[in-house]
């Protein structure tokens, strides 16, 4: 059975993770500018080389010489610009993240509106927002796992994490875990005028079903399964190798093989038919 530790955080309902639009949101424009400058510098160099190949003259002289095989790079250049832009922005925002972490490292607890922790969770969030958005907009959406790792979220091998909302801090996900469509993993939660921050631990080979919410402080043991359309309470512990369902999670039952569950269905059908016969008599 699942145990819930309600003594530390007495709350009546699960709400949502909320991040307001603050002046720090303008960091997106700085990131765009930085990515744009790197893009321009590398493209200017490349176009200059092609111009040299065409005319034997350079737009601006750098003392470099181009070879014929530079033409082969032209299609790569057109598509590679996307990746160049994304990865330069990821690098830049990781540097900002390191500075923010030095000023105020992420801490667990309950904080009021307007405190240092409230401000810095917002800042770290808006800093991480654009690189993760970009990674998911690329044709290889699973590259967002690398971005999460850069931001301090420890994600194991063979994890599916790109089909839902995941907070960029205080989360641990083990190997071979799968998350489904439209999930929300919140390590911070808005409650009236307070913000609750607690670390989430998801073990190895877990399955997080579609349309679920994982609240702060949830611990999923190895092999635990969270059923579709359910959510966990704050600080709830889900036992391993069991299926958990409910809003919030209240019932849990063992994982059955296909034959076992078919037998169970047939048994229920038989019972139903016998009951109907009894009613007729």
């Amino acid at each position: 059975m699942s145990n819930s530790d309600k003594s530390q955080y007495k709350i009546q309902y699960i709400s949502t993770s909320g991040v307001y639009k603050t002046p720090f949101t303008l960091v997106i424009i700085f990131q765009l500018f930085f990515g744009g400058i790197i893009l321009v510098v590398i493209n200017l160099w490349f176009i200059n080389q092609l111009y040299f190949l065409l005319t034997g003259d350079q737009i601006f002289t750098l003392g470099l010489t181009a070879e014929w095989y530079y033409w082969l790079l032209l299609p790569l250049n057109l598509y590679g610009n996307l990746f160049l832009f994304a990865f330069s922005i990821i690098l830049f925002s990781v540097i900002i993240n390191k500075i923010l972490n030095k000023v105020s490292p992420p801490r667990e607890g309950v904080f009021e509106r307007g405190t240092k922790e409230w401000k810095y969770t917002h800042r770290r969030f808006w800093n991480a927002y654009f690189p993760i958005w970009l990674a998911r907009a690329l044709p290889i959406p699973w590259s967002d796992i690398f971005v999460y790792r850069f931001f301090g979220v420890s994600i194991g091998k063979n994890v599916v994490a790109y089909e839902g909302y995941i907070d960029p801090e205080l989360i641990e996900i083990g190997d071979f875990t799968m998350t489904s469509l439209n999930i929300c993993i919140f390590s911070h939660l808005i409650y009236h005028d307070h913000i609750i921050i607690k670390k989430i631990r998801i073990g190895e080979a877990c399955v997080v079903g579609p349309q679920t919410i994982i609240s702060p402080g949830t611990v999923m043991r190895d092999g635990a399964v969270l059923g579709a359309n359910s959510y966990t309470w704050i600080g709830q512990e889900l036992e391993g190798n069991l299926i958990h369902v409910g809003t919030p999670v209240s019932t849990s039952f063992p994982v059955q093989s296909l034959e076992e569950s078919q037998e169970k269905v047939e048994r229920i059908k038989k019972k139903h038919i016998e009951n109907e016969k009894g009613d007729v008599k």
């Binding site: 009546q12 309902y13 699960i14 709400s15 949502t16 993770s17 909320g18 991040v19 307001y20 639009k21 997106i28 765009l32 744009g36 893009l39 321009v40 493209n43 200017l44 176009i47 737009i59 601006f60 969030f125 991480a128 927002y129 654009f130 993760i132 958005w133 970009l134 998911r136 907009a137 959406p141 967002d144 790109y162 089909e163 839902g164 909302y165 469509l181 439209n182 929300c184 919140f186 808005i190 349309q211 919410i213 359309n229 359910s230 959510y231 809003t247």
Partner: protein, 245 residues
Amino acid sequence: MFQPASLKGDSPTPIDERIRNKYLIIYLIIIILSFVPCSLFEYIYVQFLWDKGLFFLFFLFLPFNLLFLIYILQLSAILFSVLFLTIIKLLFPPMEGIFSRDINDKNYLFWNLRNVAKKWPLFISASNPFPWLKNRFILRFFGVKIGKKGICDSCWISSEFVNIGRNVIIGMGSTLLSFGIEQDKFILKKIQVEDNVLIGAKCVLLPGTIMKNDSKLSAHSYTNFNDILKENSIYSGHPAKLKEV
């Protein structure tokens, strides 16, 4: 807020296929018209830089030029769709009520036409890195009232008959539906969300819901038609029931 593909969609405005096929020309005209300012901008850019021999500046500003084009396209799409929307609203003003779901019914027909006019700007703004652009900026042009100091960036909001007050938090993947389809009936009713309301993640508000000041809706619950949530109270469940005052 860094949404997956499944959360990035435009707001829930289904269009009747029979009406969409009949009035496809409106959709095409809005798309073509919204590209006109883009080509004008590009013409000026080339004339000022390339034709005067400023190749260095031309290449320097090229990436910013491409980025700028996307935003010009989005803004002009809003402009022309609002233009068509006002014409459609003048022909037949939008009304609340229960109507029959039939293309001969004028209310149903014009509701679909309004959705046809709104589709293009909502579609191109869905894939935008600035999350507040779609739910604040564009919906305000369509007549949705959204107060200041709130959070409503990663949820679906119907593009008409919605009133949202100040300092309202709406959670991830929540849906505010001001229309409903029930068998052969079609319902349009206003949703009112007053000040300081908190709506949890993955909630659904059905048409006619009124949330009074400081009321809270727990995560993963939905409200019924014409529900009124009291002041300073907490609601949860499917459908939402009063939990504690």
